[in-house]
């Protein structure tokens, strides 16, 4: 069983530090690492690949402790932005060069077979410069596979692609990783990668993992304000707990009272995270929709994103809701319109200060 485990890996690189990174990936699991630029995501991958020596901690790949091994002996598949094909070599030479390195332990599969398996046999003599992104990804995977990696490290391979190409390549990559049953670490700053790829997601900032959990958990119940900001939660409201009872917390935010599901001492400051898509908009307050929070508001602005529309609301506090553009039209939303925002208490998530 392939696995990747990091145990309290720390590293100092100039003024940058990677702090006590620990996690374990089992079997074919994909862990997405999400964080802003400069969070140390690439440094983390490069450390696992063997390009930086950790100050302390251990790195286990498969069943081998690779902490002291150089990159060429760690058996990691490394996919970088634009896929890192060698432009001076043909496709078959790219793959053969990798297989040469692996052939010393007799594990390299036949190159022709490998090209056929990835559907790139017809490109054998082509230059990487003329390939489409999809073809490049297949060549990069075939080339990495020639070395029989125990783990895949993917460093924003889709960063330079447009959205439709990204969706297609992501599906293909997912299919490959699942079939190969190899654990993978996928670094990105794009939220859509998280939902589409990740079994679990690690939120990283300033060299530390702030939260590591199932992606739905991180998106709906972020641990802290920082995590909520990184995963792009639109409404983060500063408030004060006024009372608590079995139904939840009453939190005063601006002039409004919010019901939230969570825990916290009365009288203390708390931040509430509310996803834009958890806010339901209705023209008049009919009790047909169950929601503990029913907030009258005025539409300030509409931001049409195509299928979705973001609506900025003024309810004494500023709220951002997100709904289908079609529904927005049916509601007759326009700046200045009076509206009621419905939010279930379960969707109001108090953040740990």
């Amino acid at each position: 069983m392939s696995a990747l485990a990091l145990a309290e890996v720390s590293l100092a690189l100039g003024s940058f530090t990677l702090g006590e990174i620990s996690f374990t990936l089992e079997g074919p699991e994909i862990l997405v690492v999400l964080g802003p630029n400069g969070a140390g995501k690439s440094v983390l991958l490069e450390t696992i690949a063997g390009f930086h020596r950790p100050a302390c901690g251990r790195i286990i790949i498969g069943d081998r402790d690779v902490t002291a091994l150089p990159p060429e002996r760690r058996r990691v598949g490394f996919l970088v932005q634009n896929f890192g094909l060698f432009p001076h070599l043909t496709i078959v030479q790219n793959v053969a060069l990798a297989a040469r390195g692996a052939s010393s332990d007799g594990a390299a599969p036949a190159i022709g077979e490998l090209l056929a398996r990835f559907g790139i046999a017809h490109l054998a003599e082509a230059s990487p410069l003329v390939l489409s992104p999809g073809e490049k990804q297949r060549v990069a995977l075939a080339r990495a596979q020639a070395c029989r990696p125990d783990v895949f490290l993917l460093d924003e391979p889709f960063a330079a692609l447009d959205a439709p190409a990204r969706d297609e390549l992501r599906l293909e990559l997912l299919r490959f990783l699942r079939a190969a049953r190899i654990p993978a670490l996928f670094v990105t700053h794009d939220h859509t990668d998280v939902a589409a790829l990740g079994d679990r997601v690690a939120i990283m900032r300033e060299g530390r993992i702030l939260q590591l959990a199932a992606s739905s958990e991180v998106f709906h119940r972020p641990l802290s304000r920082t995590v909520a900001e990184i995963v792009g939660i639109e409404n983060i409201l500063a408030g004060r707990i006024t009372s608590r009872d079995p139904r939840g917390l009453r939190v005063a935010v601006g002039g409004q009272i919010f019901w939230a599901v969570g825990d916290g001492p009365g009288g203390s400051e708390v931040d509430l995270a509310v996803r834009a898509d958890a806010i339901r908009l209705v023209a008049t307050d009919d009790s047909a929709v169950a929601a503990e929070n029913r907030i009258p508001a005025t539409v300030v602005a509409l931001h049409n994103l195509g299928v979705l529309t973001k609506v900025t609301l003024d309810a004494g506090i500023r709220l951002i809701a997100c709904l289908m553009t079609r529904d927005a039209a049916e509601l007759g939303l326009a700046p200045g319109a009076a509206i009621v925002a419905l939010i279930r208490a379960a969707d109001v998530h108090p953040l740990v200060p």
């Binding site: 690949a49 060429e72 760690r74 490394f78 970088v80 932005q81 890192g84 001076h88 390195g101 990696p149």
Partner: protein, 278 residues
């Protein structure tokens, strides 16, 4: 069509035709300024005069020495300059900009000054010249070694700079990917980074060679004999006048041009003119 009516602006998007016309006029004058003296040098030759000067043993020896010394200089420049260029491109060490500036220094030193400075180091009583002769019998005055030292000093910046730019253009992540594909650090350098930087390195070596074969000032001060071609031409000019010197000059020009074009051809594949796309 406006494009057909203004051929000087053909194939260009944007840019005012008037500006382009002025640019063409300035560029054309500059080109004529460079080419005219060179063409004139060949035009005044009677054909027989170049052949006659080519038959002189001292001229042939001087040409062979110039070519040989310049090739050797380019080789030494590559041997020491390419590793330094790699360091400058890849390692963010303390004092990197100071090192890069020091490498450019020879470009700003007048070549007679370079010759005198080299004489003080590599000359008979120089700080290196004297111990090197005592210890290894290596002499720099009146020898090929001296000519190479003089040429190297004035021409090595071209190799270091071109190679540094070439290395900087190679994505360091390609080398990382190569390592994860089972290649050791030297193998990754040899199979990925060097081939990708090769064109730039070859351009640098070609420029170093060209600069070396044309060097006069530093060579004539550090090493008068044996005479390289430029020194020989200078001597002919002083002793026999313009006519015989010009024949030898045309011959040197011919040899330099043929070699220069051959090297560029080697570096750029079939393309003779640099920069016309990749």
């Amino acid at each position: 069509m406006t494009v057909a009516a203004r051929p000087w602006a053909a194939g260009v998007r944007g840019g005012s035709p008037a500006v382009l016309l002025v640019a063409w006029l300035c560029g054309g004058l500059l080109l004529a300024f460079i080419l005219l003296p060179l063409i004139q040098l060949f035009a005044v030759q009677t054909g027989g005069s170049m052949l006659q000067v080519a038959r002189q043993a001292d001229v042939r020896d001087a040409l062979a020495l110039s070519v040989g010394a310049s090739l050797l200089t380019a080789f030494v420049a590559g041997l020491f300059g390419v590793p330094l260029a790699y360091l400058l491109a890849r390692v963010n060490f303390r004092g990197r900009t100071a090192v890069a500036a020091a490498i450019d220094l020879p470009l700003t030193v007048p070549h007679t000054v370079a010759g005198i400075a080299l004489l003080m180091v590599f000359g008979r009583h120089g700080v290196l010249g004297e111990p090197l002769e005592t210890l290894f019998g290596l002499r720099f005055w009146g020898t090929l070694a001296g000519i190479v030292v003089a040429m190297l000093f004035v021409s090595v910046p071209y190799t270091v700079n071109a190679a540094r730019i070439a290395f900087e253009a190679v994505d360091p992540r390609l080398e990382m990917v190569a390592r994860t594909l089972g290649m050791g650090p030297l193998q990754a350098l040899w199979r990925v980074t060097l081939p990708l930087a090769w064109r730039g390195i070859a351009t640098g070596l070609t420029l170093t060679f060209a600069r070396s074969i044309s060097e006069f000032g530093a060579v004539v001060i550090l090493v008068y004999y044996p005479m390289t071609a430029p020194v020989q031409i200078y001597e002919m000019f002083l002793n026999y006048g313009l006519e015989s010197a010009s024949a030898a000059a045309a011959l040197l020009l011919l040899v330099s041009l043929v070699l220069f074009i051959a090297f560029r051809h080697f570096a750029y594949g079939r393309r003779l003119i640099a920069g016309s796309g990749r």
